[in-house]
């Protein structure tokens, strides 16, 4: 089974966000980049499915600037067989539809039975590319998946819903998005890192669609009032309740 995992290079979740001098984008200097956490889970699931089936190939694909090659090498070190890099230095200005179209145009040319994505990228928090990809490829789509079992040309998946989960039967190929709880991602092993160097990393260029969204400003969230300590231990409780009632007027 051929599995494609879409991965994005994003600022580390530790990043303290600073606005760049253009007033509408992230100041890049000093920012460390990582593989988006939900994509790590998607990749892990791809590898586990391949291992369970005992055959197949896992390819990772990413649209991103030249530095994305590092992220893709990490994926190869973790265990992916191949990587495809759609080179684009303007990726952080693009909108989800143009990214999804770029991915679809390349994925269409490949053999695949399953496409795995993260449930959202932790930079733009868009949660749009995977659903769009499914429409563009004209295949089924299930989001926030916490379990996947492949049987033949179908998959049984669990999808998170409030207060529980749904069990769904899905025709393959399909796009599934990984939610926390699906698995615990592995780390690259030393052997993996060594063999990654020899694995294929193919570069592609595509023509992007025109933009449908334009970011005109980036700003900081309203700053919170400095914190205030009400008191210590149990003695502080009556005062806390009084403040909640009289000042915050919540209870």
């Amino acid at each position: 089974m051929n599995i494609i995992v879409c991965v994005k290079r994003v600022p580390s979740t530790e990043t303290t966000v600073r606005v760049a001098s253009d007033g509408k984008s992230l100041e890049q200097s000093g920012v460390e980049y990582i593989l988006s956490p939900f994509d790590e889970i998607a990749l892990e699931e791809g590898l586990r499915i391949k291992e369970r089936l005992g055959s197949g190939e896992v390819s990772v694909i990413s649209v991103g600037p030249p530095e994305t090659a590092t992220t893709l090498r990490t994926c190869l070190a973790i265990g992916a067989d191949k990587a495809i890099h759609i080179k684009d230095s303007d990726v952080y200005k693009r909108d989800p539809f143009s990214i999804a179209s770029a991915l679809a145009s390349v994925i269409k040319t490949l053999p695949y039975s399953l496409v795995l994505c993260g449930k959202q990228a932790v930079d733009d928090d868009n949660a749009q590319v995977p659903a769009m990809l499914a429409r563009l490829l004209n295949i089924p789509y299930v989001s926030v998946v916490t379990k996947v079992e492949i049987s033949g040309t179908k998959a049984m998946v669990n999808r998170e819903v409030s207060g529980g989960y749904e069990i769904l039967e899905v025709d393959l190929p399909a796009v599934l998005t990984a939610q926390k709880g699906l698995n615990e991602p592995r780390y690259p092993s030393l052997k993996g890192i060594m063999s990654a160097k020899k694995k294929p990393l193919e570069e592609k260029t595509v023509t992007f669609d025109e933009l449908s969204l334009e970011t005109i400003k980036m700003e900081y969230p309203p700053s919170r009032q400095a914190g205030r300590i009400v008191g210590k231990g149990v003695e502080a409780v009556p005062e806390l309740v009084k403040l909640l009632k009289e000042e915050a007027k919540i209870i």
């Binding site: 749009q128 969204l213 806390l240 403040l243």
Partner: protein, 324 residues
């Protein structure tokens, strides 16, 4: 001018509050620019909600009803939504930024060859263009974005927009005939498994009580649950508590969990790591209970109590139970 179309969700046999928020915002903008607001409701046995939708601002209600729509299904609901969009040719489509709202906004956007504006916290319309503000990096920054194409597809973050005062008026109800294709039937629901009874959805809760590593064990969450019960609150958790297996993943608050903005967030035994703060710093009021006065959580807490949560939380419960 073309109308604003609003996608309405129900849960537990009621209109979702977040859908009423979206409808109220559509009404506010619709009245300003003098366009009609059309509410679209998809489901099984849902036509009875038309009057209520009208009282919250819908000038028309479209109903896509039937067994096919009993449970949310991205492909089937996208088909219904597409049918409604083709019929009404809206200038904007509003949905709630719930899991289904986000799925649908992306799915229909792809059909219309444009992108959606996800999880918006404010919306304005000027000179024919919708402009929104939305958080990125889990709330560490806010961007202002303009829709360059029509319709503007916008999901509204729950609990940010106010629900308007209902008023009595007559409504015209239209049935939407939806022709599902074979491609729409490739995902089938086998079973819905309920793991938590009467669960308040974290992102829609007014009050959240969260526990972190300071809870020390899963069973100790009963003190948190008791406090949550007294306050009619939802229970949340830090990643440390989730990764320890004390709480389900659905309870995680933070950059890789849920972004929440309740009226009151009570953090118990949570240090306030940057990823946790990202998910809850936009709460209106924050209370922190932590034994370490140096914990970063105190920097964002309106009210901090330095102390052992196993003493403070039960005492807080008792105090709240006292008759006024």
């Amino acid at each position: 001018m073309q109308p604003i179309l609003v996608f309405i969700e129900t849960s537990d046999g009621q209109l979702r509050k977040t859908s009423l928020e979206a409808l109220s915002e559509a009404k506010r903008i619709g009245r300003n620019i003098n366009v009609e607001v059309i509410a679209l409701i998809i489901g099984d046995k849902i036509a009875s909600f038309a009057n209520e939708l009208s009282s919250y601002g819908a000038d028309k209600v479209l109903v896509a009803e039937g067994g096919d729509f009993k449970d949310y299904n991205t492909a089937k609901y996208t088909r219904a939504l597409l049918t409604a969009v083709n019929k009404t040719n809206p200038t904007a489509l509003f949905l709630s930024a719930t899991p289904s709202g986000k799925d649908l906004s992306a799915s229909i956007s792809a059909e219309l060859k444009l992108s959606a504006l996800q999880d918006c916290i404010s919306i304005s319309y000027e000179n024919g263009v919708f402009t929104v503000r939305r958080p990125v990096y889990a709330g560490k920054a806010i961007i202002t974005v303009r829709a360059l194409k029509t319709p503007a597809i916008i999901t509204l973050r729950p609990k940010v927009f106010a629900v308007g005062v209902p008023e009595n008026k007559n409504v015209s109800v239209g049935n939407l005939q939806v022709a599902l294709t074979a491609d729409d039937q490739r995902v089938g629901l086998k079973e819905t498994v309920v793991t938590a009874q009467k669960k308040v959805e974290l992102t829609e809760a007014d009050i959240i009580v969260s526990g972190g590593r300071g809870m020390k064990a899963g069973e100790n969450f009963k003190v948190i649950e008791e406090l949550a019960q007294v306050l009619n609150a939802a229970v949340g958790a830090s990643r440390a508590a989730v990764d320890s297996g004390w709480r389900p993943h659905t309870d995680q608050v933070g950059q890789t969990g849920k972004t929440v903005c309740p009226t009151l967030y009570i953090a118990c035994g949570i240090s306030g790591a940057i990823q946790h703060l990202a998910g809850m710093s936009s709460s209106k009021w924050i209370v922190a209970i932590n034994k370490d006065p140096e914990s970063p959580i105190f920097k964002v807490a309106n009210y901090g109590v330095v102390g052992d949560l196993f003493e403070v939380v039960p005492a807080l419960c008792q105090e709240l139970k006292k008759p006024c």
